[in-house]
Amino acid sequence: MPQSVTEAVGSTPTRPSPRRQGLWLRGAVRAGVAASSISRNVGLGAGAIIGGRVTMALAPSALAGLAAGRQVVLVTGTNGKTTTAHLLAAALRTVGPVAHNATGANMPDGAVAALMADPAAPVAVLEVDELHLADVADAVAPAVIVVLNLTRDQLDRGSEVRSVAAAVSAALAAHPDTVVVANADDPMVVWAVGATARVVWVAAGSRWTGDANACPRCGGTVHRDRGGGAWRCGCGLTRPVPDWTAGSASTVTGGRVIALPLRLPGSFNVGNAAVATATATALGLDPDVAAAAMSTTSEVAGRYAMTTLHGRRARMLLAKNPAGWAETLHLLGEHPVLLAVNAREADGRDSSWLWDVPFENLVSRHVVASGERAADLGVRLTYAGIDHTTVPDPIAALDALPPGPVDVAANYTAFHRIRRRIDTERGSAE
């Protein structure tokens, strides 16, 4: 087994080491660190992003300088970026320090902040927003790019799924020597990866087919095998033969079964772990060692965490788009459910997607609709035939449920607002 990830991959791009960076960059980094601690001290919240922004403003090529001499893995896709990056970072830490944008700050400034925070780590795992993949890849010359899935997310920002896939495709084409680890089960991903030379295909699963039935190449219908994972279109776009296949609690490669005893729920996360295992293996790790390291991860940037307030034991679940909601509804037990939806910039201003989520599956649950778009959610639930109460304030909504276990499922800003509100309430109760 190799001594380090860098050694395992071998072909480290020759770049100046961080120690030999110019003074201009070190000054910029210092200014960014200062801004980061200021924003934390005054309670502005996401200090990581603000610190990164200052650095980007002072030194536009800060990202390239900070990445120089390191092995960088970029993780992109609509859903599962944060979880997959966490699992992969856990695996790679068995070999040495890893820089990682663990809070999910996935714009270029978040990448800068993560690299600044761990200047000596020889390896970096960075989740990257799909539309920023090209810029970040050009700056960091990644060893590996992971492409998880491409579905609808915030159409008013990213426009159409196919154009997002085209942007990812262009980014991959510009880095022909980079290893691409990609989901063979998602036609949009397969189309985006196109003729890239070095691909590791993972059959990571895809319960969501709402966006992917129309062939991204020709606009026709993608035909899926019942039960099996294979799919093909009349135009010739078809599922590649997978190098790795995700099972129910394992992944298989070349006849070898790797157990994935995860502490994260759901088949979606088994798929994410299979991708992370394939990626770690491509970087030279033993897959069993990687899988064992991943089994210690029990929450991801607050997701899946348990927190208690006023006698309600809340399991926190984040869902950002129809595909993510479909997966999340699948995880819910028989407990009462608090659903919370906002429509801020980071969520997407358009709440139409609520009509693509199968809320009908919540029948017989005790449901409270909450968040800044509680009324939109409530109207959707009524038409789905789901009895519910509507309480826009999330803490009041939690109190409206009986004491005991509660599943809290929320979209992006609603999720973070609930976490902050619960922290505040718990703090003032002590």
Binding site: P322, S352, A369, D376, T382, Y383
Partner: protein, 257 residues
């Protein structure tokens, strides 16, 4: 209702034109019919299916450029459905659905192709994408204000046979100059079209009921109609920006033509 017990609502090509959740319009129509004691069936018609020509209501949603081209070719190959859409049935079309039912579509590269010609309108690319909330004053008597989210890059010009669905209060709508000010959508015969996603019929139940009445030919007895409790709050949210908040009006009876 074509002589059957249940209202049939066809969702055309949800696998191709399913990008903007417009299939929610079918759920709204079906539930509002059922709440009045009228059976309703939602019939998803996928690209590989042969579409039934005897449905009461046809729905077309939004989609991306390649999907539009596919949908035009697909519908052109099913003349009996086109006949029903412009004849006995009621049709509600959103965004790309509106555009493909027109006479002409010009794509981003300037290439012009024929639409299906059921609506007297033509669509060319706009300079900028129209993305955001859209509010209009509906021209159908009694329907009132309409709210929806628009997300398109089309500029649609109405010909003399198509009337607008409403006058734009805020947002872009059709985008092309129109006598008397900006308008959204089109009405021609029993075809109603708009740029509003949302889905439009969830946010605007008066328009949903107008379509149901057109399809069934008779107004409903609404004594047993349940409330949608969150609807007033939803409409307040989206109409507040225009300063023209109004309680949800009762739906208008369809005009006899």
């Amino acid at each position: 209702m074509n002589g059957r017990d249940a209202l049939s609502i066809a969702v055309l090509l949800p696998d191709v034109l399913g990008t903007y959740s417009d299939a929610g319009n079918a759920v709204v129509l079906a539930q509002r019919a059922r709440w009045r004691g009228l059976d309703a069936d939602i019939v998803p018609v996928l690209a590989d299916d042969t579409p039934p020509a005897g449905c009461d209501i046809y729905l077309l949603g939004g989609g991306e450029d390649t999907a539009q081209v596919f949908a035009v070719d697909w519908l052109a190959g099913h003349r009996d459905v086109l006949g029903a859409m412009s004849g006995s049935a009621v049709t509600f079309a959103v965004c790309a659905g509106l555009q493909i039912l027109g006479t002409t579509l010009i794509d981003g590269s300037g290439y012009s192709r024929d639409g299906l010609g059921l609506l007297d309108l033509s669509t060319a690319p706009a300079r900028a994408r129209a993305v955001g909330e859209l509010v209009s004053e509906c021209d159908v008597p009694g329907v009132g204000l309409l709210t929806g989210f628009e997300n398109h890059r089309g500029t649609t010009t109405l010909g003399p046979d198509a009337r607008p669905l409403g006058k734009v209060c805020s947002g872009i709508g059709n985008g092309a100059p129109h006598p008397g000010g900006a308008v959204d959508g089109a009405v021609q015969g029993d075809i109603v079209a708009t740029y509003m996603h949302g889905p439009a019929l969830a946010r605007n139940p008066a328009l949903a009921d107008h379509l149901l009445w057109r399809a069934t030919g008779a107004p409903f007895d609404d004594a047993d109609m349940p409330d949608v409790p969150d609807l007033p709050a939803l409409r307040r949210t989206y109409l507040a920006a225009t300063g023209r908040i109004r309680a949800t009006p009762r739906a208008a009876r369809p005009g006899r033509r």
